[in-house]
């Protein structure tokens, strides 16, 4: 369902950042980010805490507003135009570190809320799609439960299903496994691997090196608001060029 026909050339960039800057007050979080993500590409973003990696992907759907530079998603520029913001948000799914499921709605209603209210899908159709997605993330039997009744791993899988229900072209993951107990990380990563195989464009902030090695097409290393180094995981992990990258990899590999 999410495997879009490859009618656009592989060189087609779905996300483009041109010299993007962002300040929190006087703190310069993003210092001129320029990069692009191809359709179907899986990009893992790594970096020490405070390096601006979360802000970077949150700028894609304007959960963080950028103050200078340009961001394009699927050809639409992210501006102050409400229509552009809405169009991009409908097109971009997001998964958060803390799941952020709606506690007052059952699992099925969490998933169908936006398709019914935003995409105006008929309820029956939205529910069928939701059940299919629950099947896909491996928890079809939890449809009628409420978020508080699920484990962390199950909640995060519902959150992924909820984002997929809007049939996005891009999925953003902001440290999706950082709030999970070790035994639940695997079930979420399995879902993300399956999603990656299906051809979805993904931007993932994560510390899971195994996942990055296996699933990513490219790793971006950020520090102090800039992209320090980027490249295919093989080169990045085995043969990093920059000193800062080497130091970071040394720190996370030998802890």
């Amino acid at each position: 369902m999410t495997t879009a026909p490859e009618e656009t050339p592989a060189s087609d960039d779905i996300i483009v950042f041109k010299d993007v800057h962002k300040w929190f007050g006087s703190f310069h979080v993003l210092r001129g980010i320029t990069t692009s993500v191809r359709r179907g590409e899986k990009v893992v973003i790594m970096g020490p805490s405070g390096s601006g990696k979360s802000t970077f992907i949150r700028a894609v759907n304007r959960l963080e507003e950028h103050q200078r530079g340009q961001i394009f998603v699927d050809g639409v520029e992210m501006t102050n135009d409400v229509r552009h913001i809405d169009a991009i948000r409908r097109d971009v799914g997001m998964v958060f570190q803390s799941f952020n499921l709606f506690p007052h709605l059952s699992v099925i209603n969490n998933i169908t809320l936006a398709p019914i209210k935003v995409r105006k899908l008929p309820r029956r159709e939205a529910e069928q799609a939701a059940r299919a997605l629950l099947e896909r993330v491996g928890i079809p039997e939890q449809a009628e439960k409420y978020p508080a009744e699920l484990s962390g791993g199950q909640q995060q899988r519902v959150a992924i299903a909820r984002a997929l229900a809007m049939q996005p072209n891009v999925m953003l993951f902001d440290e999706p496994t950082s709030a999970l107990d070790p035994e639940m990380i695997r079930e979420v990563l399995d879902v993300m691997r399956e999603l990656a195989r299906s051809g979805m464009t993904m931007m993932i902030v994560t510390h899971e090196i195994g996942f990055a090695r296996e699933a990513a097409d490219r790793v971006i290393f950020m520090d102090e608001g800039t992209i320090v180094e980027e490249g295919p995981p093989k080169e990045f992990f085995i043969n990093p060029k920059e000193e800062r990258t080497k130091l970071f990899l040394h720190q996370i590999l030998t802890h």
Binding site: F102, R123, Y146, A148, M166
Partner: protein, 411 residues
Amino acid sequence: MAQAPRVLTYQGIPVWRHVVIIQWTLQIVSAVLVVALVAWFFSNIANAIQDRNIPYGFDFLSRQYQTPIGEHFIPYEPSDTFGYALFVAATNTAIVAVVGVALATALGIAVGVARLSSNWLVARIAGAYVEFFRNVPLLIQLLFWFYIVLSLPPTRNTHVLFGRAYINNAGVSIPWPLPTGGGDLYSGGLAALAPYLWLASAAIAVAAGFVVHRILTRREIETGRASYPIISGTAAAVLIGAVGWVALMIVNGDAPFAISTPAPQGAFGRIAGGFTVRAGLFVLLIGLVIYTAAFIAEIVRAGIQSVRKGQLEAARALGLSPIGVLRLVTFPQALRVIVPPLISQCLNLTKNSSLGGAIGYSELTSVTITMTQTAPAISLFILIMASYLAMSLAWSLAGNLYNWRIGFKGA
């Protein structure tokens, strides 16, 4: 440790060390103490009442009150009994409570949401409103509104609004639909029912409108096709209302009700006709609503702010509009936090209406104070305390039922 004697053990444990026995003993001892204290208190009062010949008892309730009540929404004559007069006063209080709570809640929600507005001016005005009205004593505010109303022109020089409504220091008079009497078709008891027939048909029309709205909303959700529930629901209500109107007009031989327009009459220009909200009620409602809404606004603000930021981000990331986020995600979660303190404010408004006597509204407390001149005060005050308690418990019950209904499952 020495062997405990067998007689004083329970489950093989000496009773003075058995947790369950200790707890039960403490419970029983404290219950006995409380009962004894209350009994001593009341027997003391009863003795004092007897010794000093203080009048006491409830016989007066069936006596004629023989005093007019300034304002009443159900029929009342001075020849009615004390008991009925108290009931009339209680309805006056209940009307203020119900109308006041409805208006204060609406205003409070609006101000509370406005305080969180990203519009600087709107947020500041709402903030100033809350800080001012929350921090000035209610009695002062009531008297302030009272003097403003007093400074309006007297009835004989009344202000006229749009040529149809009148505002003066006696109150506000607006045009109002009044049922016309039954036609020839009715006789005896049926004639009294005639005005209510139109009310009933209007109620049916409104209910039908809601049903149509609901069905179409559901259809819109089920099928995803635009079904115009609001327009269709309104149309259905108007149509059925019109049919009912015509039917009643044929049966009645006259329009079922006529708009009564107030107009000054006589040498003093007393306003007759229409519907008049007298100054006392008007001032009491304004004062209570504005004061209570300031507290409700803070409750609403706290409720909205209690919803985690991640919830809004998730909702926005899904593409919901700002109003959609507020309505579908923020508010349902905020309500859980809002409702319990909101019930407290309903209770406060109801109890604060007892200040109405200060500005000339005949609510329960002021009527009771007048009654003490001709009936035993202790009995009267026991009765009105029970009345306020009953009203407060009714609010609590309603609020708790609602809160139970909106509670999260599985949390």
